[in-house]
Symmetry: C2
Subunit: 407 residues, 2 copies
């Protein structure tokens, strides 16, 4: 029997229950990496469980109840008892972070919080580890998925704020009471945490200026689109002379800005520093499984010191023939029946045509086709057959197409 | 005097000399984080230095000489001597990684290699730590900056491959002998390393199928643009049934693909998994300072176990008034002199107009302006003055603009 690593869970809402499920699913892989078998020691909710008992039986506490109290007290008790803590509680850290971090240092335990900022985007780890020694100049982020969804939909459909907010609520991208998201307060808490890490300076939520998106009109977005600008709710933390500015407000971005292409309920953070130029991390904003995955990454990190690359435990065979969609470019003689013969060769190998365009005339005639996903070997055999057709003026050219139905 | 941490450096080319400089610049901050003062113990180049001596006097070896031998022997000797190693050598890892990783495990030292893949993009750390317990389905990457620059320029200018390659060489984005970049071999080595980490399966460079971009014509790119497709050199590592496919080839991407917006000499990697949906990391491809920064992050990580958030060492004051560019939307009565009076109020506060558009007529008349960067306080005072003008039909509305000259 392997040694176990006991995880005490506080909270069993969307994220808590997703975490409990993920921990069980991935226990085998975690054991392979760490040599310890993770096990859920118990769950404390508002109505069930005794904290002292749970704490005594746990090696690490995962705090997912949110809010300030009793979360703050639970976390402090755990750190003082010498247990590692993983939390996704941005309000707690933005308001009481220094107290909690000092307690963790004093008791030589880890307090990890990747899930508190930007969902699945691993910006905390990157700031604390990859860029620990970097001189950061600016951190800019889209750190609230609800508002980014609303602004993206307003731009895409031309609909007004109220209408799109109602749609976001219907789709589950906005809460029944969306105040903290749409007024910028949620983003402000996250920017306080990012600023603290990037600039190694205490930053409290009260020091972050913020504005929300409630006053944005469809007109603003439409006129700005004509100017090549897209609207985002942007959090900024930047050095200005020898000071630090931390703020959240709607902002128009030019098309070349690294955050300009972030659409829908996504989060992204760009970090700038002279040595690295810039780095952008993006992914879905907080959702149950996404935040649970960030929390699990923290739990695994707390279980082991940074090991060298572990031995491989899989032996997946390497696959040679894969399915692809293709773009196919044929220079052909301009005469009747050409397309039919090409289509027949494709059809013989089971390759189906998605779109075809005829370009040019006479000596410059060419067919440009896009075909649906098919085994590459079949497509290549069809191309070899097409290459033999007497009306081809040169070798067929083809390039793979990665389909829109990407995820 | 603080205890020192001695770093032995192998190689003193572009990356090596940038690393030596960065280590000296950041030594104070590293000492604040780790409690140890990093120091360059010595530098070994082809023509200078004795390895045995350097190794004996170092706590950690940074290998930046590249190639297989003598790099392989040096790294093995260091690991066997119980020293941590940081390397940016992708060929070494793609061909001899299992031997090196096994040696590091056996001697309980770290072998870190963030700089080997994707320049500043911290994909190694994210795969090994944040996603250590994740079940990854696919890793897709633009992992060669030279080819991404060439394809971006071909798309932007309509110029041919040879012409753009010559420009890339002139700008320093392509080597004098660009073969390994343009034929896909460089990207293949990086994808072998990423596949090994993401799928926990041994992957050797020889198992990666690759094609380059030498055969791409301006025509292909132009026709595909009409279809809404953009061309990238894409590396893919994905589960297919119970196997693994690792390959590099040119591919057209639809505009919604997370890699579609990556332009110029940039790298980006998208990781997909059911729990996280997807995550994309992007930044400049390998350059001297960028790779040196990734190497430095590895050195700092090797110096300490993952600590809790260190105490803050800075006390940056919080800046309230910042400079911004603004979009300003005014609903006005449609009569002569309106623009002049608005411009006068802006001018009084030193606010200069970048562009102005008049929209609508009569009751629907409005002015939409974009103004240059100015202190926010000055702009707000100008807006207050404009709000008092008798021809205003409603409160002025304004939104910040983040300028194109972003970095």
């Amino acid at each position: 029997m392997p040694e176990t690593f006991d995880v005490g869970l506080l909270g069993h809402g969307t994220v808590g229950s997703a975490f409990a499920e993920l921990l069980e699913q991935r226990a085998g892989q975690i054991e392979a990496i760490t040599g310890l078998r993770p096990r859920l020691a118990g769950v404390l909710t508002r109505s069930r469980g005794a904290y002292d008992e749970l704490l005594a039986g746990s090696d690490l506490i995962v705090e997912l109840i949110g809010g300030i109290e009793p979360a703050r007290r639970y976390v402090l008790d755990a750190l003082r008892a010498g247990k590692h803590v993983v939390t996704a509680n941005k309000q707690l850290l933005a308001q009481h972070g220094e107290e909690l971090w000092a307690t963790a240092r004093e008791h030589r335990v880890q307090l990890r919080f990747e899930g508190a900022v930007a969902g699945v985007v691993p910006v905390i780890r990157v700031l604390q580890e990859s860029l620990a020694a970097a001189h950061v100049d600016r951190v800019s982020g889209i750190v609230n998925g609800t508002t980014n969804f609303i602004l993206s939909e307003m731009a895409r459909t031309g609909a007004g704020y109220d209408e799109v907010l109602a749609e976001a609520q219907r789709l589950g991208y906005a809460e029944a009471d969306p105040t903290e998201d749409v007024n910028g307060a949620d983003a402000a808490a996250k920017m306080a945490i990012l600023a603290r890490l990037a600039f190694d300076t205490p930053v409290h939520l009260d020091q972050v200026r913020y504005e929300g998106i409630e006053h944005i009109t469809a007109d603003d977005i439409e006129y700005a689109q004509e100017l090549g600008l897209g609207l985002k709710l942007v959090g900024t933390a930047e050095r200005i002379d020898d000071g630090l500015s931390v703020r959240v407000h709607p902002a128009f971005l030019y098309a070349g800005h690294p955050l300009a292409s972030i659409a829908g309920p996504f989060n992204a953070v760009t970090i700038e520093s002279e040595a690295i130029t810039e780095m952008t991390l993006s992914g879905p904003g907080a959702g149950g499984p996404q935040t649970a995955s960030a929390v699990l990454g923290d739990v695994v990190s707390a279980m082991i010191p940074p090991a060298s690359t572990p031995e491989t435990t899989q032996r997946l065979p390497i696959v040679e023939d894969v399915d692809s969609s293709f773009y196919l470019h044929l220079e052909v003689a301009d005469r009747p029946g050409v397309l039919a013969r090409v289509a027949a060769e494709l059809g013989r190998e089971g390759v189906s045509v998605k779109s075809v365009v005829q370009k040019g005339l006479g000596d410059r005639a060419r067919l440009v086709l896009v075909v649906h996903r098919v085994a590459e070997r079949s497509f290549l055999e069809a191309v070899d057959a097409i290459a033999e057709l007497d009306f081809l003026r040169s070798r067929p050219r083809f390039i793979r197409v990665i389909e829109e139905e990407y995820v």
